[in-house]
């Protein structure tokens, strides 16, 4: 428990709201002294359904700048519709007995694009056949959440896990009661399945070898809280799969080191939110140094990591996995990284396996 919360708890008296434990797989996260056992899995395979939340970074930045900057609410920005895509990943969790679970991470943004990548990848059919076991929304940001209708119209009862910090607009979107013509977001298909809202003290362990952890952090564009998935792969170590990773890649991995029993750094997949808009800052050099010290074996990155960071990190010896050319088969291509000597991103259609 953070010392600040401990002091707040004292103030609240012995009735202690913090004593309200949650039974079952949703457990309070551990203190430093008592690490959580999350079980083990055999392997984790991540399919990049779409990492292109936007196709042109300058246009994305222009939308934000014109609206007043990074502190403006994402619901108050008239996003350029021709520039937006969305972020979706499909995770295959292979358990020790050989059975599999399918987890969808995030629900995209532009509905046309999200429908398109879902159909192209086969995820759309899997949703219609209710073969997806769980939908995890990493955070409320437009590119990870606003395409929710594409998922719900195929499978409205899909079990979902979201951070418990959504703004009222985000909650209304989930209930199928939100339409905003200014920022172009709407959903009229209510979610009817089980909904788990994770708080910062929760660690959700739905299947052996997998856990979801929420970080209660303030995020640009008026968003709050992000969660990521941890997998403990037998004989290999812990893999973190992220949406945007606003919590910070090293903060996330250090949390796992402090709180997951038998932690050993192994792999990463997702947006790492470092040089999200391809600008550099000396702090990004800090992250390269820190990740090197962490000793990860396999890093598959894309989306908001920053091509510039992935390139520099690979040049300095980090195990950045190169992507294929499959993304060129998609109807829209990102501007970033075109003409680069190697593809340092796992792009649309790419697959990475840990195990």
């Amino acid at each position: 428990m953070e010392r600040r919360n401990f002091l707040k708890g004292l103030g609240a008296g012995l009735a202690g709201v913090s004593a309200a434990g949650i039974v079952g797989p949703l457990a309070k996260s551990a203190g430093a002294a008592d690490k959580q056992e999350i079980g083990e899995c055999k392997s984790v395979t991540v399919h990049c359904i779409s990492e292109t939340s936007w196709f042109d970074s300058p246009q994305m930045l222009k939308d934000i700048k014109d609206a007043g900057g990074a502190m403006v609410s994402m619901y108050d920005i008239p996003w350029t519709q021709s520039n937006i895509g969305g972020y979706v990943a499909l995770i295959e969790l292979e358990q020790l007995d050989g059975s599999k679970k399918l987890i969808q991470l995030d629900s995209g943004w532009n509905q046309d694009w999200t429908d398109y990548v879902m159909e192209k990848s086969g995820l759309g059919k899997q949703l219609e056949e209710k073969k997806i076991d769980l939908l995890v929304i990493s955070h409320e940001h437009e590119d990870h959440y606003w395409g929710l209708k594409s998922t719900l119209k195929r499978y409205p009862g899909i079990p979902m896990v979201v951070p418990n910090t959504f703004y009222p607009e985000g909650k209304a979107l989930l209930q199928g009661k939100y339409k905003n013509d200014y920022s172009h977001v709407e959903n009229d298909v209510p979610h009817t399945g089980e909904l788990i809202e994770l708080g910062p003290d929760d660690l959700y362990n739905p299947y052996p070898g997998m856990a979801i952890k929420m970080f209660d952090i303030p995020i640009m564009l008026k968003c709050r809280g992000e969660q990521n998935l941890f997998f403990k792969v037998k004989d290999k170590g812990v893999v973190a799969v992220t949406g945007c990773c606003h919590q910070g890649v090293l903060t996330m991995m250090h949390w796992a080191r402090r709180n997951i029993a038998g932690f050993k750094p192994y792999g990463l997949y997702g947006g790492l939110h470092i040089a999200a808009f391809e600008n550099w800052d000396p702090k990004f050099d800090d992250i390269i140094r820190g990740v090197k010290q962490m000793g990860l074996e396999k890093i598959g990155c894309n989306h908001c990591t920053g091509w510039i960071w992935a390139s520099k990190a690979r040049a300095q010896g980090l195990p950045i996995v190169l992507g294929t050319e499959k993304y060129r088969d998609y109807e829209k291509l990102p501007t970033t990284g075109q003409g680069a000597p190697e593809n340092v991103y796992l792009r649309n259609g790419d697959v990475i396996m840990f195990g």
Partner: protein, 413 residues
Amino acid sequence: MSDYATTPDSLGSAVSSHASLRPLGGVLNLILVLIAAQACWYFVFSPEGVLRLYTPNVGVAFVITVLMVIHWGVDVFDYWPFRRSWLDSASSPSRGLVLLVAYILTGWLIMFVFYYRLLGMYGPLFFSGPGLLSGGGLGQYPQTATENACFAQVMMNTSIIFFTMLWITVLGFKPWEGLSRFAKGLGVFFAGLLLAVLAFCVLFFPHIAYQFYPAQIFMAAEPWWIDQAMTMSSQFHFGWIVPALVLLYWTRLLWEGRPWSLIPSAGLRAVVMVLAVLAAGYLIMLGSNALMDWWWDLEAFMGGATLENPAWRWNHVAEMAMFCQVAALVLAGYFGNWPNTASVGLNALVRTVIAVAGGLGLCWLYYELGPVLLGTVPGVGQEGDTSLAWTVMLLILLYAHQNLFRGWPFQKR
């Protein structure tokens, strides 16, 4: 103004005259300033407001530039070029309005004309958003270029404020005290500028060289502070410069020249002051970081994010120092700089405790009420966000109200 330097003669507090003011007037004025602050926030910063400069670096750079200009105008040039007769005879509201508008306009010219269109277009590009954009290249987009340029301005202007206030607090107008207010002001202006540029080269320039890809390795040394700071970011230096600046402010504001004025020799006093203020700023930075370790039960580490981000930690020390400075100005300006006993040492001690406690309280209020009143996201440690936008804006309003508007309308002087 000629007694600005910390000397045994300056034991009389610059604000001791406030002690006799009626407390009700102070409270009413404070309420007025807070209302003005809310209006200013909406007009200048608010994401739902008019100018929407809370990008955040554009807004932060703007208020720091205005603060720098006010220091130049009031503390360095003693209101030159405004005539003394007008300053004394003008009504407080008209005097305050004219001066404040003049200083804000000058700040705007410095930021958007001098840095953006002159220095940053024909010299160091990193001071100008358009300058950075003119070269093109990966990452140089309007938003990022503007934010980076504004951060460079923040570094330079903070350095100027610190070294100007250091000179004036330690030496006053020496060696130009016998000259006209313009001439002696010019002396301090250039002395502060010279020291600031030299410090900028060593403390901040390496950050700028390494904020490009590839790093501009022939432009500056690799940030030399990395092992101690756990980051290559120059935000490390804000962590000690800003607390040291606040100590300089408090020398006059709360301490009535103590403890430096106890040293009779001017030369020794100057040396001790400079070394002690720098050392104290550094120790405050380290101590504050240790307190944050304890408060959040988390240690910052290289590459960490949010509360574990060393660069954010160092900047947060500066933010906390500014909260305390705001509290000190409120105490001095609106509550008669209480207490005012015969013991200067006791007064200084109690005022310091009140300022620190007030700063902590103000910080708590900022993070609790900010989401409602300012439109900030709940939580501490947001990437790229800083409370300095609000604190420096409030600092300007408080300072302007007390010095330019002379406490109008409820505190008549």
